[in-house]
Symmetry: C2
Subunit: 481 residues, 2 copies
Amino acid sequence: MTSAPDAAPGPGAKGALTARATDFPRWYQDVVARAELADNGPVRGTMVIRPWGYGIWERLQAALDTRIKEAGADNAYFPLFIPEAYLRLEAEHVEGFSPELAVVTQAGGKELEEPVVVRPTSETVINSYFAKWIQSHRDLPLLINQWANVVRWELRPRLFLRTSEFLWQEGHTAHATRTEARDYALKILSDVYLSTMQGVAAVPVITGHKTVRERFAGAIRTWTCEGMMGDGKALQMGTSHELGQNFAKAFGIQFSDELGAQQYAWQTSWGVSTRLIGAIVMAHGDDFGLRLPPAIAPVEVVVLVVRDDEGVHRAAQSLVADLVAAGHRVRLDDRTDTGFGRRSVAWELKGVPARIEVGPRDLAEGNVTMVTRHDRIKTTVPLGGAVVEVTAALGGTAAALWAEAEAARAARSTAVTTVAEALEAGAQGFATLAWSAVGPEGEDRLAKEAITVRCLQGPDGGLAEDGDDEDSLVAVVGRSY
Amino acid sequence: MTSAPDAAPGPGAKGALTARATDFPRWYQDVVARAELADNGPVRGTMVIRPWGYGIWERLQAALDTRIKEAGADNAYFPLFIPEAYLRLEAEHVEGFSPELAVVTQAGGKELEEPVVVRPTSETVINSYFAKWIQSHRDLPLLINQWANVVRWELRPRLFLRTSEFLWQEGHTAHATRTEARDYALKILSDVYLSTMQGVAAVPVITGHKTVRERFAGAIRTWTCEGMMGDGKALQMGTSHELGQNFAKAFGIQFSDELGAQQYAWQTSWGVSTRLIGAIVMAHGDDFGLRLPPAIAPVEVVVLVVRDDEGVHRAAQSLVADLVAAGHRVRLDDRTDTGFGRRSVAWELKGVPARIEVGPRDLAEGNVTMVTRHDRIKTTVPLGGAVVEVTAALGGTAAALWAEAEAARAARSTAVTTVAEALEAGAQGFATLAWSAVGPEGEDRLAKEAITVRCLQGPDGGLAEDGDDEDSLVAVVGRSY
């Protein structure tokens, strides 16, 4: 038996979220706070990631880490503190990061003779070690990843999206040839990032490369993953950079090739951060809160005791045991000293993919109520069949979320031909047009309306190939976070 | 067929490690460098954890994290930067940490109005959130853990043992009663720390509590895990603190109890760090390098191609596949452009529990050579039986390492009755004597010879009970790292 979802609470309803259509940024703030994902830290721009938010991060981390290892990279850890002088070695890099640096000037009760920078990214310190570790072509490729916190001082912080400190992984590699480096940067883009964002988080993503204006400070090419959020804005969800030989030359990363000649290494770096959590909130959330694909939900199923009753408690406990035995992550909510409605709303806010409500009335007829979060549909199911029903429902959740996000993106994506049209369409979603119709001057014009080229793609809409004519490229433009 | 281990290389042997008996600190440095565990960072006291060292850490982390979750704690993440004022709220705490703080005074291109401290530990910032999150007895217990980097400026750094930045986990909990907090601190000590240190890392550990002189700044009782290193010195491997209501009062962490009365929470905090890697090096290492229990070895078995030969390559590859299928972490070393001897020594240095050498001579007779790292015994085994032999050998490695460490500790542990005797015995290992024979004055006398009370135990050698008379306690004293 299936019934229609409850209506969304009206704007006056007690404790209701701001509706997305009313004020999307406010809705985002509300969800992050009320789903207990994160709090602002005491120092401006910093963030406390609460257990529910961190639980999502742990699952994303595990998915990424497995794929990073499959791509052959080893984890390592480099220091938080970097000598100021290191940052100055690569010219574009220091220019890109200087305004955002946090600097330690006192330590151990004294003024430091040389202030140290809190890493905004680790290119400089890691490459100083690569120069030491790499001597011969036998030492290549060198494939290193690190999970770490980094600091970029933010004047307009926003939880998960833009914070003064964030958690991320940053990969750094060195290769013998430009082709090998490019292939590796693209392997990470597809086999690690796209695979996790789409295959695990169920967020549709477009890929391409950044314009010179938008690329990473020190890179020769920045590949990017761009998702569309619920308000039509783009979010850069991850980037993979070809660094060319810029850092190799700045840090002296040389190897002797098979013929004994000294060569500079070709490098990549790539990173995704806790920003992914913000992407998931904004791509999947609805007016009732978060919606999570089961693969990254800290809890896949919550079993709620509707009201105190011995039989109900017993049935709920035994159902939890059966669900755990079936391999699900399950939480029992038997806090009957808090009202049932309040608890339901809280789990809905947190985006738990499935709820099972066990109450005396249903139970008298041998039933329980199952509610799937993504469509908010309530179904009466027999207690004995609940595990099978929940397993089936969870199996379809990610695809349903994906389809909805994909449809929303398609509805807000427009092919245009001029910058004037792109200005209009890009304010609502993604506009696609020939890069030759934009160019650096068009980029300036768009930028005045806070619209940027999110990425460039090849003539067929795929990634650009090395030989592609600049004029054959397609630009995807939009507003962004 | 089994043959005796090779003799240790003499002091003049090319590339030999310093012998442990000759210069233990130097041996330690050599092993950390040559097994590629870690390097010094560019900023004094910081550390680069290389993939081999980080691989060990990842396995320790996984073992700890599983146990922490089983103990009911959730992971979260709190900011790196703490307002200076927070640290001043708990008097003993600020006194304990002030000399070691690193302070950010500039950020985003400006002088900060209020400098921020880089966390030396997170008690202050976490407790400021506990005050917000805890209102009612229903919010208790609150059990939080975080994996993070912390900074304590070190003037005499030593890789893994004492570095200006290190990685750790820090748990922070709040409970309704003192007993509950005490029980939880002890649960962490035994079910998380002892279980990992002894059950996973195979390092024998004694437990007890610290004297007032040695306890954590702000705690009412510090429980500790102390291991004995290869030179007879103690290493504090992890601590679990009862904080009483000290931080609760400083930060206003209050809850309304069942009767509606306001109460201060009772708290614990507990941590272990990358120092554990140093403990494993120093407890298990020998004159040939590191020795790792399989559970924490990044690679359990390395299969070495002795010499280029088509049959050898094929046999080695197929053996690797069989070992992987049997569930082992395996590395194939077919870098025949590097001498076989050099590669063997490198794997031995890295402490890989088992090596299998596949060479044309053995293979012609259908055999391979298996070398177990802990006893350096070489055995000729039939190729077809190699998986079974290796599995059996790995199954016995941890117990053998444990037994050796345990025997070494027993040989260096002495029961004494006076401080004078403790001074002598404590210089070589652990001396045990009645705490009533030491007392705070005895502690001062010992401290002049760099000997400290590592822990106090109950009259039966177990953990002290709440009701135990101070005079019935037993002190374990020794030198320490």
